[in-house]
Amino acid sequence: MEKMLASAVRVAAGQGESVSDEVLAQRLRQGDMAAGEELVRRYCQPLMRYLRRVTGSDEVAEDLHQQTWLSVLQHIARFDGSCSSGGFKSWLFRIATNKVTDFWRSRTRERTAMEGLMRVTESAGPDAGSGIEAQEQIEKLKRAIAQLPENQREVLFLRQYANMKFTEIAQVLGCPLNTALGRMHKAVLKLRQLME
C-alpha cells in the first residue's frame, strides 16, 4: 500500500500533475509536513472565505482556520480517503463547521450577531475606483448576510465556497437532505429580498 502510494506520488510529480488531496493526506499522516503545507495552501482561500462569511470576522476566521488544521493533524489517522464520502474537502469543511459551531456555543448568539452586524456596517467606505451604487449594493448584501440565521449561512457558504453537493452538505451538518435544501431555499430567497 505504502509503495503504491509512493509510486503514485512519484508518477504524479514526474508528469507535473497535481497530487490528489487524499495522497497528500496520506503523506501528512506519515509525518510529511510539506504535504500538510500544500493542503493548507490549496484550501486557504475557500476555507478562509467560508469562515469569514459565516463568522463575520477576519480575526475569528483565522483563529478557526488554525484550529481546523490542528484538528486535521490530530485526527488525520482516522481519515480514510477511500471511505470518506466527499473526500478530504468534505472532511475538512466538516471539521471547520464543527469549529464554527463550537465558536457560536462559546459566545452568546445575540452578542456575536450584534458584533458581526456592527463590523459589517462599520466596514471600509467605498473604493475610489468603484461606483457608489455598486458599493451600496455590497453594503446591503453584507447587512443581509448578517441577518441570515447561522444554519442558513452554513448551507449557503458551504455550497458557494466548498462547492459541495447538497447531499454532502447535509452529511457535514448532520441534518436530513430536505432540511439542508430548505435552509438553502430560504437563504437564497431572503438574501434576494433583502438585496432588492
Partner: protein, 190 residues
C-alpha cells in the same frame, strides 16, 4: 410530485436538486416531463435559478470588493502552529494511543494480570527470603501482643478530650451569638 420524487418534501427541494444536477437520471427525466407539462412549475424553476445566480454573483462581487484573503500570511501562521503541534503535542497523542491500546483489554483480563503480577512478585520475594508467611508456611510469624487495657484507656482519653473540645466550641459560639444580638439591639434602639 411524482412518486419517484417522494423523498423530497416539496417542489423547491426537487428544483434545487435539479438545478444542482444532483438528481438521478430517472429523477431528472421525471422532473423534465413535469416541467414540460406544468407552466407554474417552470416559472418557479426559472425564478429559483435567477435567485441562485443573483446571490452567487453578489457574493462573488463581495469577495472581489474585499480582495483576496492574505493567504501567504495566513498559511505561514497556520503551518507554524501545525509544526509546533507536531513538536509539542505528539508525545501526548502517543500516550493517549497507549492508553487506548490498554483500554482494549477487558477488565477481567487486566484484573487477572494484576493479581498474577502480585503473586509472581510475592513468590519471588519469598524465594529469596525477604518476606515471611504465617505459621504453617515457609517462614515464622512474629506475633505482637497488644494489651486490651491500654487500648481502652487510650480510647476513653480521646473521647473525653473530644467532648471537652466540643463543649468549649459550643460555648464560644453561644457567647459570640449573644454579643451579636446585644450589638444589634443597641444599634436599633439608638
Amino acid at each position: 410530485m411524482s412518486g419517484m420524487l417522494e423523498r423530497f418534501e416539496n417542489s423547491e427541494a426537487v428544483l434545487l436538486m435539479y438545478l444542482a444536477g444532483e438528481l438521478s437520471e430517472e429523477e431528472r427525466l421525471t422532473v423534465e416531463r413535469m416541467l414540460a407539462a406544468d407552466a407554474s412549475l417552470r416559472a418557479a424553476m426559472e425564478e429559483l435559478r435567477a435567485a441562485l445566480e443573483a446571490v452567487s454573483d453578489a457574493i462573488g462581487r463581495l469577495d472581489a470588493a474585499e480582495g483576496p484573503v492574505p493567504a501567504e500570511a495566513v498559511i505561514r501562521r497556520t503551518v507554524r502552529r501545525m509544526r509546533q503541534y507536531r513538536v509539542v503535542e505528539q508525545p501526548v497523542a502517543t500516550a493517549a494511543r497507549r492508553q487506548f491500546v490498554l483500554a482494549r483489554w477487558p477488565v477481567w483480563a487486566r484484573a487477572a494480570a494484576g493479581v498474577a503480577a502480585v503473586i509472581v512478585v510475592a513468590l519471588g520475594l519469598w524465594g529469596v527470603g525477604l518476606i515471611d508467611f504465617p505459621p504453617g508456611g515457609h517462614g515464622q510469624t512474629e506475633v505482637v501482643e497488644t494489651s486490651d487495657d491500654s487500648s481502652a484507656i487510650l480510647a476513653a482519653k480521646l473521647e473525653k478530650s473530644f467532648a471537652e473540645e466540643s463543649t468549649s466550641l459550643e460555648r464560644a459560639e453561644l457567647e459570640a451569638h449573644a454579643i451579636r444580638e446585644e450589638d444589634w439591639f443597641f444599634r436599633h434602639m439608638n
